[in-house]
Structures are given as C-alpha cells and as structure tokens.
C-alpha cells in the first residue's frame, strides 16, 4: 500500500468525487475506514457539528493505519482527531498536528448526497 502525500486541505486539488459508503455505515461522532484504490482513508461523521471530515488513515508518528479508530473532538473550535496509539492530535481541517511536531496529514473534502458519503480525491 502506498503512503499518501499530504495535499492541500481545500477542495481545489480534488477533482474526482468517489462514492465511499452509506451515511449509516459511519457511527455517529466517530470514524470508519474506507478503501479507495489502494489507499486507506479515515472518514468521520461529526454528528455533533453536523460536519463530515476525511483524512489519511495512517498516523505519521509510527506509520500505523489507525486514525479512523481515533477519538474526535475539538480544540478551541478546531475539529481534530486523536491517534489511538500515542494521542497525537491532528486538525481535521488543515491536517496540522496540534500537540507535537509530526508531519501534516492529508485531508480530503467530503460531501453527502442521497444518503451516500462522497470523498473528493486527487486525480
């Protein structure tokens, strides 16, 4: 499986909307992992904010494929995910690491239509 290169957080770079799964496949206020080609993408159903986020599933700290299993929350309003291994937290908007000096993670735009979740992926 290839590793994901961080991309711009804005949807500018996204060209393809890929249909990931049904809304009901994602637990409220939690995440699940989606496969796209041979990439693993973590998708979060942030019910409390009525928002969706997507980012690479791999944590840049120890290269573990686990971010989708992390707890989500906010830090001064910024939505974030905490890696289950060592609790490094990453902004779900910018991909920036918020509590350590880890590489930024790739984030992807998400939209919901007709009960399906779509992820904007680079061509």
């Amino acid at each position: 499986m290839e590793t994901i290169k961080p991309i711009q957080s804005e949807s500018a770079a996204a060209t393809t909307w890929f249909r990931a799964a049904r809304v009901s496949d994602f637990p409220p206020n939690g995440g699940a992992c989606v496969r796209y080609r041979n990439l693993q993408i973590a998708v979060f159903n942030f019910t409390r904010r009525n928002e969706w986020y997507a980012c690479q599933n791999q944590c840049p700290h120890k290269m573990q494929m686990v971010l989708s299993r992390g707890l989500i929350g906010s830090q001064e309003g910024e939505p974030k995910v905490a890696c289950p291994f060592h609790k490094k937290t990453f902004s779900l908007r910018s991909g920036q690491c918020l509590n350590a000096e880890e590489d930024r993670i790739a984030v992807f735009p998400v939209k919901v239509e007709d009960g399906f979740v779509y992820i904007g992926v680079p061509e």
């Binding site: 499986m1 990931a20 799964a21 496949d25 994602f26 637990p27 409220p28 206020n29 939690g30 699940a32 992992c33 989606v34 496969r35 693993q40 998708v43 942030f46 409390r48 904010r49 840049p60 700290h61 120890k62 290269m63 573990q64 494929m65 686990v66 299993r69 992390g70 707890l71 989500i72 929350g73 906010s74 830090q75 001064e76 309003g77 939505p79 974030k80 905490a82 289950p84 291994f85 609790k87 937290t89």
Partner: protein, 833 residues
Amino acid sequence: MRRIIVVGNGMVGYRFCEKLRSSAARSEFEIIVYGEEPRPAYDRVHLSDYFRGITADNLLMAPRSWYEENNIELHTGELVIEIDRNQKIIHTHNGRTDRYDVLVLATGSAAFVPSMEGTERHGVFVYRTIEDLHHIEAYSKKVSRGAVMGGGLLGLEAAKALVDLGLETHVVEFAPRLMPRQVDDAGADILKMKLQQLGLHIHTGKNTQAIEGNGKLEGLIFSDGSRLAVDMLVISAGIRPRDELARACGLRVAARGGVVVDDYMRTDDASIFAIGECASHNNMVYGLVAPGYEMAEVVVRQLNGDMSRSFRGFDMSTKLKLIGIDVASFGDPFAETPGSVPIAFRDTRKGIYKRINISEDGKHLIGGILVGDASAYNLLHQMVINRMPLPENPETLIGIGGAPEKKGSGIGDLPDTAQICSCENVTKADIVGQVTEHGATKIEDIKKATRACTGCAGCAPLVNDLIKLTLESLGHTVKKSLCEHFDYTRQELYDIVRVTGARTFDDLLDSHGKGDGCEICKPAVASILASAWNEPVPEHATIQDTNDRFLANIQRGGTYSVVPRIPGGEITPAKLIAIGRIAKKYNLYTKITGGQRIDMFGARVDQLPDIWEELIAEGFESGHAYGKALRTIKSCVGSTWCRYGVQDSVSFAIFIENRYKGLRAPHKIKGAVSGCIRECAEAQSKDFGIIATEKGWNLYVCGNGGARPQHARLLVADVDTETCIKLIDRFLMYYIRTADPLTRTATWLNKMEGGLDYLRDVIVNDSLGLGETLEKEMQELIDNYECEWKRVVESPHLRAQYRHFVNSEETDDTLQFVEMRGQKCPVDWDKNT
C-alpha cells in the same frame, strides 16, 4: 574575538556555556570545551534515575547538536593534562595544544576514596558517573550482597540503588549516626528505623579498616575486629575537588582541596576562573549544583562587564530525594548560633521527627530538621532564608499545640525577592509576574518562561501554590477542570450525572459543557457513565478510548489482544484446550500473563467478534483487560492444597472476581487473596488485597505495582467473610465516586487529606454515614453486569463496527508479522519514525 577554554563539561561547565551564549556578549567570545567523559554534560543530580530506566541520552543537559548550533567547539573524551600559564596554552592527553585568553576551570570533583587496604579489588566502586553506574549494574547481576561505605546524602542514594538492583544492602557509617552533617541524633534514630523497615541493614560507628578478599572483594573488616561479608562495595565517603591541574600549574589550592577563588571566582591568575565543585570559596567547597550555577552566573556577568554580582556563599539546605523517606535539613540545623532555642516534636511510632531552631530574640527561624514528614520544608526553608517573622506560637509550625498551618498558607507573606527555585534562581516576583503580566496559569508555563522546577523540581509544590494564590488574588477561581470542555472535576461530574440522570455524553455536554469534547473528557465521561449506571460500554463506542471501543487492547501494528476472564486463575483442562484450539485456529500468539491468565495477541479487528463467539460458546466471558475496570483477582492455592493455608483463598478469590467483574472505575483495579501470611498471591501489591488469618481475613488497600510501586496498607484485621465483602464494596464505591480520572487507588490515597486514618473512618467507622448508600450503589452495579462481548457477538449493529473497511470486505493488508520462537509477532515500529 577572545578565546575562552572551559575545562570540564559537567553540569556547571555546561551551564556556563549556556549562560554566556545567551548573554549580551554572546558573540564576543569563541568557546572551546574539553570534557574528559565520553559524552556531553549530563544531569548528575538525577544520575540514579538511570536505574529507573532513564537512558544516558535522556540525562544529557543538551544534545551534541546544541553545541554546534551555539557555535561551541566541544571535545569529549579528552583530558586536559597541563596548563602553561606563561604562554596561555593547554595540553591534552591526545597531544593537542590550544591557546586561551580566558580559562574557566569547571573540573568538578571525584569521589573520595579513603586510603586503606583492598580498595583496588574487583567489586569496589564509586558513584559519580554514568560509567560507574554501568559497572555497578553489571557487577550486581552476579552477586547478592552489597554495602555502601558512607551514610550521608549520596551514600543513602547509592544504597537505594543497590536495593533497587535486588541486593541485600548494608550501609556502613563511620560516625555514630546517619547523615551526620544534616541531622541530629534524634532525627538519625528515626531515619535509621525507617531505613531498616525498608530492608536496609545499617551499621553506624563502624570504622572500616580493610577490604578483604582474594582478587575480588569478599568482605569488610572493621577496627573493632568485626567483619561484614559482602560481594560488592560502593564507596561514598565524600568528594575530593579535582584541583590537580591547578595545583600543577602553581595556582593556589585550599588546605582541604579546591582551587582558591575570591568573590568573583577569580583564581590568583587574572585569566583563570574556577567554578563549581572544583572551587574553594572561603575555605568551603560546595557539593551541590545550585551554588555552582550561581558561580557560573557571576563569571558570565563579569565577562559582560558587570561586576554588580559576586558570590557570597550559599545556603546548604537539602532534602534527601529518592529513598522514599522524607529527610530535610535547612539553615542552621544544629542550633549552633549562640542563644538559639530548639523546639522538637517526635513520634517514634509514626516515625516522625521535626525540629526547628528559633533565634535568641524569638523573632526568626534559623534552621531545622525534618524526618519522616518534610512537607513543611519549602515553607520553613523560605522563612529562614527570607528572615520572615515567626508566628506567635512557632511550635504550630511543626504541629505542636494546635493545628499545623494550612498547606499553602504562608507563601503569601514571602517577600517578592524570596528565592523559590534555588537551582535556577527564580524569585517569587518572577513567578507572580508571569501570572499577572504574561497570563501563565500552569506550572508548564512557568517552566518554559523562567526554568523554575526544571532542575531538582523540589520547588514544584511551592510554585503550584504560588500560581494558585496569584490567580485567586486576580479574582480567578482556580479549579481542576477536566479539559476545555468541562469546567468540573471528575468527582463533580460524577455527582452531576447521578443527580441529573444524564445517560449520554452529549446530554452532559449540552447541560454542563461546551464545544465538542475531546480525547480527555470523552473517555472520562464514558467511565463515569459506566460507573454510575453500569451502562453497556459498546453502546457508547465512539466516546471510548480505542481499547474500550473495540473491547480489546490495541498492539503495535494495529492488531488486538484477547483476554478471557479466568477468575482467580483457576481453569479446567477443557477450557485450557479450548483456548489452545481457538488460538491455533486464528493464529494468535499466546502468553501466560502476570495476572494469572492467558493473553492471545495479534487478532485483526474484524476477527474479534468471531473469536469471542467461539470463546463464549466454550463458557468464557470478557476479562476486561482493555478497560479501566476490575482486572484480575490473583489467588494462591490456599487451604485446599497447601500445607500452610488457613483459609480457602481460591474460592474467595473466585467469588470476589465474579462479584466485581465488569466494574468500571477511574483506573484499573486489581485484587488478590492469599491463603496465609506467606502471601504467595502478592495481595499487598494490589488495589485491594486479602490475606487469610486464623480468625478470618486481613484487608489491605491502595497498593499497586507498575512504575511507582507502593505497598497496600492494612485497613482492618481479622474480619469475617461477610464484613470483608461489605468493606470492599464500600471501599471500591467510594474510590469510584471520588477519584480523579486515571488515578489508581494508591495515588488517590496519597492525595487524600487525612490519609489512611480518614479512609478507615469513612469505610470502617462510617463517619460520613455513607456506608449503606455505597453498598446499595455497588449492589446496583453488580446487578447490572453483563458480558459486553456477549452483547457485541449477539448484536448485528455492534458487530458491524468490527470491519476494517466499511466499503469493502477486504482486510488490512498493511499488517506485517515476523516469526519468533514458533509464534508470530508484529514487525517493529518503522525505524525511520
């Protein structure tokens, strides 16, 4: 540019470089450092942490790259052997020569080894460098008995290290008492008694004459003719300043050793300074780091043209660290000041001795000694160095004749110039200023801004109190809030949940919080909800930490472990076979755990429900190895089989484990039941431990192993089975209600005002009238128990969450394993990260 050569790269030499490079004159000097040791300067004060798993790298004052970044030329492993003062040149043992304009001697000191027969034998060590510790550790593995020569501060620290290395440990002191320079006879008696309780053998008034042996050391011979058979010896008989270079080039050295310096750290050569433990000021060599730092400061200022600061001697107050017994001595501990009056308090049963010395006019504290309880040290010490006025009844300061002053009070009265952190010379005004001017609210803020608490950290309690006091004076209410989303403590939230009946995280966040929650408050609230209602954890999956979310412990690589409950460690052959069969089928690594059960590692998340389905069919239940919950009740075989057993410990352990299984708490809880006083189940290292007696059971509480082991304390003795259970109910429920998140019972007790006596009052004497409520609440939790894995296995909506991909049936293909001793094991962390 002028060339400064620093000889010696120890704590003080390093500090000198650092101060010079951050001073105004930073770019006017080239700095060249020669250090004899193989690595850059490290934190010698915390040397003993090496035996607690801290690596040599972690002890470094700064990594090698720091020297490069700061343009400091560092030569390690290079000994300066000669100073040519006429030509201003030094020579090193590698044959290098180097020219200086200014020379700073920071050569520290070496352990003093008294001249006696046998010091050259194998097995004789000193305690000064990382290499010394390497050698001690290696040698200790081959032997079983060790002695430390010297019962002073450092000697006792070394003795603790030998104990930690598992040796039978003896301390041999020449003086008639331990720590002769810091404590008096009465204090030393108590100290000795406490050390003996820790298992140390103390020999005072013993003059060692020779070290016996044939090649390697075999024992010590004393002048009174007696002998002590030991296999290794650590000599800690004082320090000897490293003044050999200075002596050889004709600089003046003091009669008792040390390069003679004036108030500006100048030697009798205008281009040469001496700082740290190698310097002798007013015939005094300071064996502590703080005076050395002050000397470095004085020299750096001079090099910046500032002569306003000189060295005027230093307070030698000290607190013994590490050994687990409070000992402190400050100011003039022995009341040698004419006319002074000592007041002392002594409780031999509890092992407490406190002494304060009052000035002749009764107005000031001039010094004192604390043994067994040094909690008042910071405050008393401050009173001495700041000459603060004494309260009307000074004896209350040490708890005589009325309540001791409340903790924290008193610092408000300190003058602004009071030095709070002596390692870094940070004053009260500096700290208060950080709070009032720069918005500091936490100790971390103060550390960053002022470096207070970054040295020996002894001032941390004072700094915390000061922050709190200052914040309060600014009108802030200081609360221990959980995180930015909840302005409440765990205990308050627990009460809120019980009172409002909140059943979900969102309910509670809406009514009492703000924002969206985070990785701190979500698991804490999950634990409260579980403790309050024993709600099924899987229904709150997304507020659980990963282990509770997937009801399994996540491992390196992202697979999980499976631990079925095996109450009391008793298991039938049929169940053993079942575990073997299932582990084999799913290719899981198996291991007997330290908790008397079996752990199966390496399951993919999607396999967990299938594995549990099979385990449940064989009669197993969840072992809650993943939860902040009851773990195991260890048992020993007891009266059923053992010839010594006085009660049936296995049956009792199984009963207890089944009673409390699934119980959620602020942290994990463990128990054990031993069938007799021999204590094979290690009950005294558990959150609650039960030991059988002829008459019933002794109940111990608040022990744990882990990183900071602590023995459990006896709550009640000789109670019958029913009472024992009732008291455990109350104890656990009281803990669940009142402890902070992630606080084990031992820490909870340590923080409890009134300590064990108070806890006993609440639990055994029912002083708060809570007993019945606690029992009732516990019964509710017990009645609500269900095996959460059974729920998952039987509920399709929960089972559906155990897929790696929601849009594909494929499994995670990034998992990688290697083989080890016939089983699988995950590949190591990526080496590049």
